[in-house]
Assembly symmetry: C2
Homo-oligomer: 409 residues x 2
Amino acid sequence: MGILSRRSRYATNPIREDDDLADSLRRKGKKVIRLSTGDPPAYIPTPSFMIDAYVRALKEGKTSYSRSEGIWELINAVIGRYKRTYGISLHENDIVSTQGISEGLHIMNSAMINEGDYAITFKPYFPAYASMLNLEGGSFLFEQYHEDDRWSIDADEVAKSVKSIKRSPKGRRLKYMLLANPNNPTGTVLHRPALEAIVDIVNENDILLISDEIYDEIVYNGAKFTSVSKLAKGMPHVILYGASKNYQATGFRIGFMIVPESDRTSMKLKAMFADYARSRLSINTPAQYAVAEAMNNVKEHNKAVKHLVKLVSERTNFAVDLLDKNPFMTTVRPNGAFYILPRVDFKGLKLKNDAEFVSKLLIEENIQIIRGSGFGAPGHIRLVSLAPKEILGHAINRINAFCERHAKQ
Amino acid sequence: MGILSRRSRYATNPIREDDDLADSLRRKGKKVIRLSTGDPPAYIPTPSFMIDAYVRALKEGKTSYSRSEGIWELINAVIGRYKRTYGISLHENDIVSTQGISEGLHIMNSAMINEGDYAITFKPYFPAYASMLNLEGGSFLFEQYHEDDRWSIDADEVAKSVKSIKRSPKGRRLKYMLLANPNNPTGTVLHRPALEAIVDIVNENDILLISDEIYDEIVYNGAKFTSVSKLAKGMPHVILYGASKNYQATGFRIGFMIVPESDRTSMKLKAMFADYARSRLSINTPAQYAVAEAMNNVKEHNKAVKHLVKLVSERTNFAVDLLDKNPFMTTVRPNGAFYILPRVDFKGLKLKNDAEFVSKLLIEENIQIIRGSGFGAPGHIRLVSLAPKEILGHAINRINAFCERHAKQ
């Protein structure tokens, strides 16, 4: 018998697959430009008022295990944040803190998925959604974001598809629909009517909706964000949230699973998520104090996030303008998060697909980006638009030159 | 179909099961003495040189995602620590950092266990070993630590039992043997000959040995600790380690999975553990710098751990002396870690078992301890001996009075 489990083959992450190669290039003295991870503090520092709160917690000796679901100060800060931002009244037991959304995905899938179960999500999608589901024996049934409609959904198409899934044998094993808004990797925000249509569909078909809203404050270019929690009106749903993006604190590793409603399904889920949290004791303690402060100090946070969104929108638009000069790229201009997902015209290039594009680009130009196929979007590449314009501009000019060099004839 | 998975029922933790009740007592103004978690900084502060390193990392902006397997500084610190302490030469790829040993247990079991697989451990055991195995569809076959032999093993008995398991149909689905030394909850250290016998047994039967050695510096009362890595000589094994106990940094949540050897099984495991680490991005970044410093600054660490072991040994011995005055308790005196596992004479008490003992003690005396049945040791209770003598003494005097009050006739 082999030592590894069958499921272990799903422990993959396209976002990190070239890290070893990039590291080995760096060790050879190459300067690798990293446009591969959505990591704000790599280019835009974590706000100092949060660092100060973190330091204070350390100096006050807040270094024990914490309450498994999260310290009360943090739980109450999340309650305050959702009241202020969306007018939603959360209770203490609605919130469980996790080591980033990654751990939340693991806990959710372990809590819900039996071997052979299904879930629905939309392509393109964040890869951990699939790996964490697959690791528990589940598989995705995919709906589609339409690139030609600015990565929005066709509500009628989704309604028909979901109804047909529910009527099929798979329908009995369907556990949830997972949505990411604003989206990674497309960088787009769903219009409210599209979101309302989705809420209607899951309501009619009695499906649990999970909404990853970790980028909810990072919207620009005129977009407006709507939280599922505003539309739910008693419908069971889970909000995934965290400190990594809006609060520029990826390395703190603080995420949340929020179950706002009180129906029977929601009550079961929130109790079970707490049990899972207890089974692994706790997350990092002092970081929780920093994130509590980040949410409670509204004035400082608003200043910081305003600055972040300004930089992100400028950099993203600047990058898209440059990519638009590349005759082999077509890009839907993002209006949320900090990702760009250009479609590459491989018919015009001597590169066969996005995987070859990305690995050649890393070796030849020392620029690290991610293949779209890792997100269920083959033929695309994903860039992160967090770097300053000098770096972004330099990188995209080299990407454009790289395409010219690999053009057919 | 219910929303929860079948496996989710295993997401339990007896160590945290009374936390809600204890919290609600505190909210009513009661002062609850917590002897329930092995949490050094709750009573003995994290050394200040580690806090300083943590603060330095934060002020230097080390707040991005880190390398998934751990920052190089930390990996190299672990390499240095094992070289210095045990003369073992680890390589960079042998080490993966995790959110405490808890996450390591999750990753290991997900990486190895198929539904219906088995593993071997010894009773009494740390409860997360079982929950993390059960959550992946595996079950334990139990060997026994013998209380009447100071919680040691009977090597002949184990050899016979393991051989018979290997010959049975279960033998084909046997994935590993898991050992904890020094042990939680017994607080005892295995003699080197016992450990050598175990290494021989797993070698002969071709079983992967996993050794949880997180308390390896916390030994006293004349005990000597031996690391499995010193005895392995090419045999595949995994060492579980972490910063929580020796370094008094539970709330940092930094653990390690170490695979020191280079046989085929070991190579597969270390590559797979890295894949799992990548699939969840990273652990808390600034805490890794603090733990790197904790391991690199040998002088400061040695001073701190010497102080810790002195306090732990004094407090443990003091507590056992007091428990020995209780006619309903029999206690094997610990010589490692900071746990005490007295056997309770329920024939003499009007309490029916350890669960009733523990919950009545919490309600009547506001002292939180853990039932032995949570560790596979029914009829016992587990106390943590980290509190100062005033608190420990006060608590145990009340435990003794509680027993008198509940004595038969």
